[in-house]
Symmetry: D2
Subunit: 192 residues, 4 copies
């Protein structure tokens, strides 16, 4: 079991987003990933969340869903680099890829390509009772859409935090705070 | 293995500080606690970091050091409540309690009672090569003292972040951000 | 001309919200209040924004709109305390009070009592070209509603920031950061 | 009188730092700049604080101190661009340039070139009773040095805040928070 991979260890590409270390740690822990059998990572991008989940919870089966072919290529390279064998890559639209699932424990939503509500609807159909949705939002619109979606349902308990990380960078004798962009981490648990 | 205890599950007392959930998670993961044999938790307070560490890393031996008798009492009650058997409570000044150790893997510094430099000096004597110091600071003075201490040494690699968590609180139909006080988490690894 | 009243100088009441000093300063400066003839302060509450505006821009006429009778009482006491003579208090629903205006330079929206969209619609009717809407949001829902409203229009240029202030509190020899809740400040300028 | 210049209006150069709009506004307002006769801007850099002060307080005399010749050149170009006539540029080490002053109302410390304590000592000699020191810090070390300096004196009342501004950037239909680096703004008033 391992948690907390250095960001530098991932292969990266300029236009493909990557969830940063502290956000990965919090997202996966708050979603109870280590108890999960089936984890889907929607909008897997660089694959950092999938790979972190694969190492943190080696008995889970993780399905990394990503439609962008460049990102899929990068994702596969990262999977190889970290030698994890519990990730399956699905190159498809999230709404299509999710159709084949029957019982998801954790759905991680990193990217939604403008179709958040549709994705939430299909995740909801497939998510086990007691399962978790864990979503990272950088836009006010997607955060707001997800909050609205949850408020229309009575069978989810959710908790949302905004996380801002400032890293002290060493410049000569000085330590100077450098801001990461803030992220909203929303965790919703499905109730009976 | 478990990580991410709800804050509400700990028994608390008004004047005894408690490290909050997200800060506990990041502190323990960034310090590589799950690989550690011997962990000391200096200024253990409510015991939340010790107990979180005990569940996250069940094979570790955790020594919770706390001088305040009220905090020791509370700490013991929390240990009992969580039924963990890998925590030993040491009721003493940190500098005295640490004298008996020979090889520490992780030293967590939650509170230092105004004696940070002295504590760092003795931790340094006892820390294994490859071991971690993980400190949470709420004051500029202690953060600055620790950075100075590290800069005078060449055998530590450190990384420091400031973490600010805003929790969305549900008030009627609204979700309103409520700020936690920001914390600096400093992690230092001892090199050869 | 004066800007930057100490928070402690305002008379306050527990359930009536007050915009804090740094937020008042930024809100008023970013809205170009000092060039305005007619300013409306919607949901004036304690009156801190109205009074700050009255001192910052003594030639402006400020209309403080507030429906809650307790807040109106407090607001009037604060106006008297600061001896400003360019504030008129209107005790009414915002949407009604605004009907009598013809040419507003700056509309400050502190509180909207669940009727933000309706208030924006009527403000839009009354706002001069070149005039500013300046809104403070603590909820994701109101921020999101306002962003949606602006995106449906082409004649507004807007800029939004989230402001987080941590104040260093002196505790013994230490300076310890205490977080204020973060606020979104949105400023929109009406174009031709 | 004007306050709140757009950042884009300043001529800039890559390696010369510039204080951002919201930080300029808060720094100048919290230092009571509009009541000041004599203002010194130490480490003036791009000149954004000096020029903002010159427009905000047209009756003040502002002395922009900067030793770096490239920054001085840029500073002069910006002064010309904004057509302000109440700034005098002093190209020298701060400690030397300050020797000729007798009664300073506001000393703004933007940059200190590693000599903060020496600068504070000479500012203290020249500052009027009732005058303000206003300093912006990005490093923990300078913040800590300044706090220590203030704690050794009894004739200063100080207030320090950390300001974090996240600007919502429009990307397609979305508004996405982009973080500015956090800044500490410390304001100290000299008492009898």
């Amino acid at each position: 079991m391992f948690l907390g991979i250095d960001d530098e260890k991932f292969l990266r590409q300029e236009k493909i987003p990557m969830t940063k270390r502290e956000i990965r740690i919090l997202t996966l822990v708050l979603a109870n990933v280590n108890d999960a059998e089936i984890i889907v990572d929607i909008g897997a991008g660089t694959g950092s969340l999938s790979i972190e989940a694969a190492l943190f919870s080696p008995d889970s089966n993780i399905f990394a869903i990503e439609k962008n072919p460049d990102a899929v290529e990068l994702l596969k390279q990262n999977i190889q680099k970290f030698s994890v064998d519990n990730i399956t890559v699905l190159q498809d639209e999230a709404s299509k890829a999710l159709k084949n699932f029957s019982a998801i424990d954790v759905a991680i939503i990193g990217g939604s390509g403008g179709k958040l509500e549709k994705i939430l609807d299909i995740v909801d159909e497939k998510l086990k009772i007691g399962g978790h949705i864990s979503a990272n939002f950088i836009s006010i619109q997607n955060l707001s859409t997800c909050l609205d979606w949850l408020k229309r349902r009575e069978n989810y308990h959710y908790d949302a935090i905004q996380v801002q990380i400032n890293r002290l960078k060493k410049i000569g004798h000085y330590d100077i705070a450098q801001a990461n962009n803030p992220i909203y981490i929303l965790t919703a648990k499905k109730k009976e």
